[in-house]
């Protein structure tokens, strides 16, 4: 970037203050920081690569972790049963109304597992392009299936590169109950991450991480209606959302936005050199977990003072679970701040024994039994 480009950009930043890049909103109101997430209880042994969790009914949950899908049941979910094992990372999960389990498998596609049949059915490509980076799946009460791919042709583990390249290449797909008639519903989405159909089947919710956006679409027999943006400038990168069982939603936010990351996103020259010269773990980029490796980027506010890491320090990683009401307004939030334990949440679901949270950054499954407004 030459001098002239910078001058132009400076002028633009005065004339068009929000041009393309919104200021990070402060955490206030129902989003006020707290340490309540750190009071959650770890369920069983660590689950490295835990990604999604859904209620399986009957006091059990389905969890995707690594290449496996597990069923956790019994008191305190101590019993672990392997439901399926794939040759790619298992991601988003959903229970179809007819009882089948839908699984997003990285590099492969969408699998539908019928408890009665050993071999899953697969949906491998839509619109001539393979489903490599499926992130979330959901099923409407009428049996239709919706799924999102974060970035077409990219596996989910390349998410950091996708953000740093400022891609907007995600898509929302739909298919019939039998994985038939696959269609691209929306394309060129900025990393569409979470999708869910409201329990009444009237609307479809969608999160787009790189746009920090939550949207709602009316759902009719003919397809989806027009977009209604519910939250356009969230303070973090939204991941999956699942119903809370009370008409609202549980939204996992996998990382906080920081001024430094937003700044690096504006600095093309630095960002390109950074991507070319070092492994993604050391980039100035969001992280699911951090603070332990001395080669990670460090910010001045994160310096420990008198042996204490300030909770309000600029976070390398962060734990944030947002509870939304039926209209998508934030009702409550659980935080694990800088120096906290449970960072990098990717999903949470409501059960009668509390909220089960997948903390991918911490590599464990959590049970939060405190109250949640």
């Amino acid at each position: 970037m030459g001098f002239f480009d910078h001058l132009l950009r400076d002028i633009r930043s005065v004339i068009d203050r929000d041009g393309g890049q919104d200021a990070i909103p402060p955490l206030d109101g129902a989003m006020s920081p707290n340490d309540r997430l750190d009071t959650a209880v770890v369920i069983g042994d660590p689950l490295p690569g835990v990604d999604d969790v859904i209620d399986a009914g009957g006091g059990a949950v389905y969890v995707s972790a690594g290449r496996r899908v597990l069923k956790l049941s019994g008191t305190d979910y101590v019993t672990r049963t392997i439901m399926a094992e794939f040759d790619g990372e298992a991601g988003g999960l959903a229970l179809h109304p007819d009882g089948r389990l839908l699984v997003c498998v990285a590099g492969r596609g969408l699998a539908a597992i019928d408890p009665a049949q050993p071999e899953p059915r697969w949906l491998n490509d839509v619109g001539g392009r393979p489903l490599v980076g499926l992130l979330s799946v959901t099923a409407a009460p009428d049996g239709r299936i919706f799924a999102v791919e974060g970035s077409v042709g990219r596996k989910p583990d390349e998410w950091r590169r996708d953000l740093m390249e400022k891609r907007s290449n995600g898509r929302l797909i739909s298919c019939g109950a039998g994985l038939d008639d696959p269609q691209e519903v929306l394309r060129d989405l900025p990393y569409s991450h979470g999708v869910t159909v409201s329990p009444d089947g009237a609307s479809l919710w969608l999160t787009e991480s790189w746009a920090h956006r939550l949207s709602r679409f009316a759902l009719g027999p003919s397809g989806i209606g027009s977009r209604e943006v519910i939250a356009a400038n969230m303070p973090g990168y939204p991941a999956r959302l699942h119903p809370d069982g009370r008409g609202g939603l549980l939204l996992a936010v996998f990382a906080r936005r920081t001024h430094l990351i937003e700044f690096v996103l504006k600095e093309d020259d630095f960002r390109n050199d950074m991507m070319a010269s070092m492994p993604p773990d050391y980039w100035v980029a969001p992280a699911l977990a951090g603070g332990s490796d001395c080669l990670e980027p460090m910010q001045i506010g994160s310096v420990k003072a008198l042996g204490i890491q300030k909770p309000w320090a600029p976070p390398r990683s962060y734990g944030l679970l947002v509870h939304l009401d039926a209209e998508g307004e934030v009702a409550d939030s659980l935080h694990s701040r800088a120096g906290g334990r449970f960072h990098g949440l990717t999903a949470a679901c409501a059960t009668h024994s509390g909220v089960i949270i997948a903390a991918r950054g911490a590599g464990c499954l959590l049970n939060y039994t405190g109250d949640l407004r």
């Binding site: 001024h259 430094l260 994160s302």
Partner: protein
């Protein structure tokens, strides 16, 4: 020659116009530069366009014309500095002009009596203003506007009454003629007097107690009153002075013109106001010098005079001065409000930092820097009883000292160091420490200089300034941030002053700027002089005199290198790189018992920070656009201690990879088989047992006792 040492030529190469401008703007004398340039430019323009303008004769007559206006502008300048204004200067001038003529022609007083009498008249008229403004606290603007109207009316009335007398009589006095048309050394008498008065007024305003009081009142009347300044009396005296200066002007005018009419001094108050504000005397008060007032006066005088000589109609000239006043006032308001911000915006000027490659630090990488957890279980001493012991040291009795951020040197004693006491309160931010031969604890104190603490706890100053660099705008004679020190066998104290552009609280900016702003300084107790040994050094931090006493080792925090500077022997005065590639930012260096050295790395270089070091533009924009807390930094929570030998080869390292007990690790000190650890932001001093070392070795002995390996023995 190393990269860290910068010659004059190298600093010319690294020249940055932004940096120059920011340092210029910090200078008080830089502010009148713009009006001064305008003044010179204006004169040059008229000299080129008007024939004979620059001739001696023409210049002399210009000076004669100018002097009277100069007095009036000076009077206005004084009032503005006190935060007031005197609109009646023109009217007082006219009345005093009349008074002088009246005393001489009507009363027929001798010149020697008429002049003091006129000055008294001026002072009396001024004292009316002064009484109203100073004692009755009326608003200067309205008050002097009223006196302007009344005095102007009186002058007109008196003029019509005595015009006949003035026109028909003339003064027969040589001294009066001399005042009107004489010269001193070729300079018109009135201009010469003005110059003398200016000199006196300059000394009065800038060097005398009452001048400072005036400025203080202008800056903040309330604060001045709280400080015990007699505000009312000072204000009264200011307007008396203003009136007296106008009277002096009136006397010269009367002597030169010997006439008075209704236009004498009309509009001078606004010309004077324009001139003074244009020169840079703030309308808000509290800021200005007599020279600034004069620069502005010369500009306005040259402009009006020049325009008249070019045949421009009078109303155009008035309009031009009006416009200039408008612009000058606008700039004055904006500038005084935003000067600090403007400097702040351009003060930080990051440069390319020539970093060497970073060695591997991963556990299992096989390098001497490979991460381990040897410091995790360090024994904590004084946990939560010390705030940031940047340096730690032990005395001969085995008592432990830490320099803390509250300006104290804390001492721990007893078998397990459970007794805590404040050994000395120095103030500032005590950093590096060392014992001299007499067991005085010499401490480098950021923000103060180098201080000493005698064994009984008495604090004394060692030095707080060094020689100034002649070609630098920033006055670098004061020690800004003395960081670490060590003492050579001959008693000379070598210490680092890590930055001359920033302070303790902003030293992160120096690392981000990546310029050689620091220096290594030496204090010689024999001559009690302080001299800069190496100027322009990249953030010199740790200093250690080598075991043989012939060289000093210098850690450069921002370059991530260790240097050796020879102080004895054939290479004396030369600086060379000792360790070129370090995985982090080095801090303090200290001697180890086996003839090697300890080095603390306060931060570990991260790939992103290294990349930013190569991109000055990125760092500049980051400093401007990103809040301070979010700036990129080296990994300061993951420091380590390492050992290197005389050849600069790293041998081993000690890490606390969690940063839980030892983050921002800045120092370590070996003492009788233990290694003591200090941290800039830590809440404790740490201690680990060292295996296979000389258990009787102490730092004091290694410097001044039997364990010394110095080859240059000095008796005494």
């Amino acid at each position: 020659m190393s990269m860290a040492v910068d010659s004059f030529a190298a600093s010319v190469r690294r020249f940055s116009p932004r940096l120059l401008l920011s340092e210029l703007m910090l200078k008080q004398w830089f502010e009148p530069v713009v009006p001064f340039t305008v003044m010179i430019g204006l004169w040059a323009y008229f000299a080129l366009t008007i024939p004979d303008y620059a001739s001696v004769q023409s210049s002399v007559s210009l000076l004669r014309l100018f002097a009277e206006f100069g007095f009036v502008a000076l009077a206005m300048g004084f009032c503005l500095v006190t935060g007031g204004i005197d609109l009646s200067v023109g009217a007082i001038f006219a009345l005093c002009n009349f008074a002088a003529l009246y005393f001489l022609l009507v009363r027929e007083w001798p010149v020697e009596a008429a002049i003091p009498a006129t000055l008294v008249i001026g002072a009396l008229l001024g004292s009316i203003n002064g009484f109203l403004i100073g004692f009755l606290k009326t608003r200067p603007f309205l008050t002097t506007l009223v006196t302007l109207i009344i005095l102007r009316a009186s002058v007109n009335l008196l003029n019509t009454q005595y015009a006949q007398v003035f026109a028909t009589n003339s003064v027969e006095s040589d001294s009066w003629d001399f005042i009107g048309g004489g010269t001193v050394l070729g300079i018109p008498i009135n201009a010469a007097t003005l110059f003398v008065v200016l000199l006196i007024c300059h000394v009065f305003l800038s060097r005398s107690r009452y001048g400072w009081h005036l400025t203080a009142i202008g800056a903040s009347r309330k604060a001045a009153r709280h400080a015990g300044i007699r505000v009312r009396l000072m204000l009264f005296m200011t307007y008396v002075l203003s009136g007296t200066l106008c009277a002096a002007s009136g006397i010269f005018y009367a002597a030169r013109q010997a006439s008075t009419d209704s236009t004498t001094g009309v509009g001078w108050e606004f010309q004077a106001l324009t001139a003074v504000v244009l020169g840079g005397v703030s309308l808000a008060g509290g800021k200005g010098t007599v020279w600034r007032a004069m620069i502005g006066a010369v500009i306005i005088f040259l402009l009006i005079n020049g325009l008249v000589r070019m045949g421009v109609p009078g109303y155009v000239t008035s309009a031009v001065t009006g416009l200039i006043l408008l612009v000058a006032v606008g700039i004055d308001v904006k500038w005084s409000k935003n000067r600090g911000k403007a400097i702040q915006k351009i003060y930080v000027n990051p440069a390319f930092v020539p970093l060497a490659a970073a060695p591997a630090v991963h556990a299992g990488s096989g390098s001497p820097y490979a991460q381990n957890d040897r410091l995790i279980n360090a024994q904590g001493i004084g946990i939560d009883q010390v705030e940031g012991p940047e340096d730690v040291i032990l005395d001969r009795q085995g008592r432990l000292y830490g320099s803390t951020r509250d300006g104290n040197v804390i001492r721990f004693s007893g078998p397990n160091f459970e007794t805590r006491e404040v050994f000395a309160h120095i103030g500032g931010r005590p950093l590096g420490m060392q014992f001299d031969r007499d067991e005085n604890l010499i401490v480098a104190v950021a923000g103060m200089g180098v201080y000493g603490v005698a064994p009984d706890g008495r604090v004394f100053k060692v030095t707080d300034e060094t020689n100034r660099t002649w070609y630098k705008l920033n006055d670098d004679s004061r020690l800004r941030m003395a960081d670490d020190l060590d003492i050579a066998p001959d008693g000379k104290i070598y210490f680092s002053d890590c930055t001359t552009r920033y302070e303790m609280t902003t030293n992160t900016l120096d690392i981000l700027e990546g310029r050689p702003n620091g220096r290594v300084v030496c204090y010689d107790p024999a001559t009690k002089t302080t001299r800069t040994v190496i100027n322009h050094f990249y953030f010199p931090n740790g200093i250690c005199v080598s075991h043989d006493g012939r060289s000093i080792l210098i850690a450069s925090t921002s370059l991530c290198k260790v240097f050796r500077h020879w102080i004895e022997g054939p290479k004396k005065g030369r600086t060379e790189v000792l360790i070129d590639e370090l995985p982090g930012n080095p801090d303090n260096i200290n001697r180890a018992s086996d003839g090697t050295y300890w080095l603390a790395l306060v931060g570990i270089r991260t790939p992103t920070f290294d990349l930013a070091a190569r991109k000055p533009g990125f760092r500049l924009r980051m400093v401007k656009q990103v809040p301070t807390d979010e700036w990129l930094a080296p990994a300061l929570n993951h420091g380590c201690v390492l050992k290197f030998n005389e050849n600069g080869e790293a041998l081993e390292s000690w890490w606390d990879p969690t940063g839980i007990s030892h983050s921002t690790l800045t120092s370590m000190r070996e003492h009788q088989g233990y290694l003591y650890l200090g941290g800039l932001e830590n809440n404790r001093i740490g201690r680990i047992k060292l295996d296979g070392v000389d258990d009787s070795w102490t730092g004091y002995d290694a410097y001044w006792g039997a364990k010394s390996r110095a080859t240059t023995k000095v008796t005494g």
